[in-house]
Subunit: 110 residues, 2 copies
């Protein structure tokens, strides 16, 4: 099992919100990663969309859906499927990563 080092820029949700609200002129955002909990998925979409300077309607056009659909996704009104997630972030030219971490100790068969 290989052990690697990964250096990444992380953003908290608060920082994300800061971005959404203001600070549009931030320059050095060439590449970074969000670390995300599932509940925040909608915020992630919104955040990346804003980063791309797109309206919901424009993002919708890229994917082929109405703006209302984007709104719903961003507001977590539904329990999204993987396909949808990929579709959206792919349109936003963002790479999606999914990781699973298990710690042996915790587990106990009931």
């Amino acid at each position: 099992m290989a052990t690697i080092d990964k250096k990444m820029k992380m953003m908290t949700l608060d920082q994300m919100k800061d971005k959404d609200i203001g600070k549009v002129g931030t320059p050095e955002r060439d590449k970074y990663e969000f670390d995300l909990r599932m509940e925040v998925l909608g915020d992630m979409i919104k955040s990346v969309r804003k980063e791309r300077n797109l309206t919901q309607e424009q993002l919708g056009e890229l994917i082929g859906v109405q703006k209302s659909q984007i709104s719903k996704l961003e507001r977590n009104t539904k329990n999204v499927t993987i396909e949808t997630i990929l579709k959206v972030f792919s349109a936003l030219k963002a790479n999606v990563r999914f990781s699973v971490e298990m710690n042996e100790s915790e587990f106990k068969v009931v």
Copy 2:
């Protein structure tokens, strides 16, 4: 934006398969992370389940579904929802992480 260092043990899919097939006695597996592409989700479930020494039926019981359902999830027959992913890995006491990485340069509005 904070920059942090994260050291993690990574596993390739091949290594995962090695584990599934043989090598059950591997000891120091206290904590590690899988790096995963969406298409491999089913393999991830299977891999973690085996790690926990559970049958599909047992995992099913933990979640409250039939073994056939687990089989289908592991074999990627459906386009799974987030809720399902979380339900499964939560039963397996595994932490799920989701991350989005965007690189500014690539994007061009069509």
